[in-house]
Symmetry: C2
Subunit: 117 residues, 2 copies
DNA sequence: TGACTATATTACCATATGACAATATAGTTG
DNA sequence: CAACTATATTGTCATATGGTAATATAGTCA
């Protein structure tokens, strides 16, 4: 967060963005799109999903500006609209890994030391 | 996202983390904690919130490893447990700003050009 | 135009989540 | 121990969200 406090509206925007990324299924979609653009049908197959469901998630991602799309004949091709996503995921992954390491250390630490709580 | 595809479980973890950050109220809490540690009561006052509500959000943040806490007498002091949060928010802010700039450009562009739809 | 394909939208249900009030728990102080 | 303070937990309600089936829309092709 920048040093100046954020306005209510900005916080809402940021939160919305995080919420959009807060669905495993949408992350899976993004992960697939990282390999290159995909039609809805391809994603439905690849992710073994329901057509309307995939479509709805894609719409959400689109509204959030996380993916772009283009029509070609009957099909619509989706692709990554904001590579930032992957950076964010990598950072979260890293942080999760660190946390796990800390937890492990904590759990395997020889007893007799004061526990944090 | 790392280059190797992530497992279902990992995606769930990442999604959960994003979801935790997907609440304006929790972001407000984190924003306050950035200034330094705070008791629950202080946060309730500062954020003009309901005690049980604040407490619940703090619990969520704690479970996610985003904040730490320590007891001192009757009070419990919370503080930032993972500064990563602010980096993430900054990045999202940046990205939102970029998006706004693009939107603006798009909307004010002289007519007659093909729209990207 | 009518049949067909691909995608989006709508409607419905079940579940998750946030706000809030009420209650429980833990610590302090007399 | 009783009274008090600070925080956590529980229960309830309203709303949001995901999954899915049904339907609508847009484009293609004969």
């Amino acid at each position: 967060m920048p040093n100046a406090p954020l306005t209510e509206a900005t916080l809402e925007l940021i939160a919305r963005r995080f919420r959009t990324l807060g669905e495993p299924f949408r992350l899976r979609i993004l992960q697939h799109l990282e390999q290159g653009e995909c039609t809805v049908g391809e994603l439905v197959e690849l992710l073994d999903g329901n057509q309307s469901n995939v479509s709805k998630h894609l719409q959400l991602l689109y509204d959030a500006g996380l993916v772009t799309r283009r029509r070609e004949g009957n099909s619509i091709f989706y692709s990554i609209g904001d590579p930032l996503v992957f950076k964010l995921c990598r950072m979260v992954c890293q942080s999760e890994a660190d946390k796990s390491r800390r937890d492990l250390k904590e759990l395997t630490r020889p007893p007799g030391r004061k526990a944090t709580r």
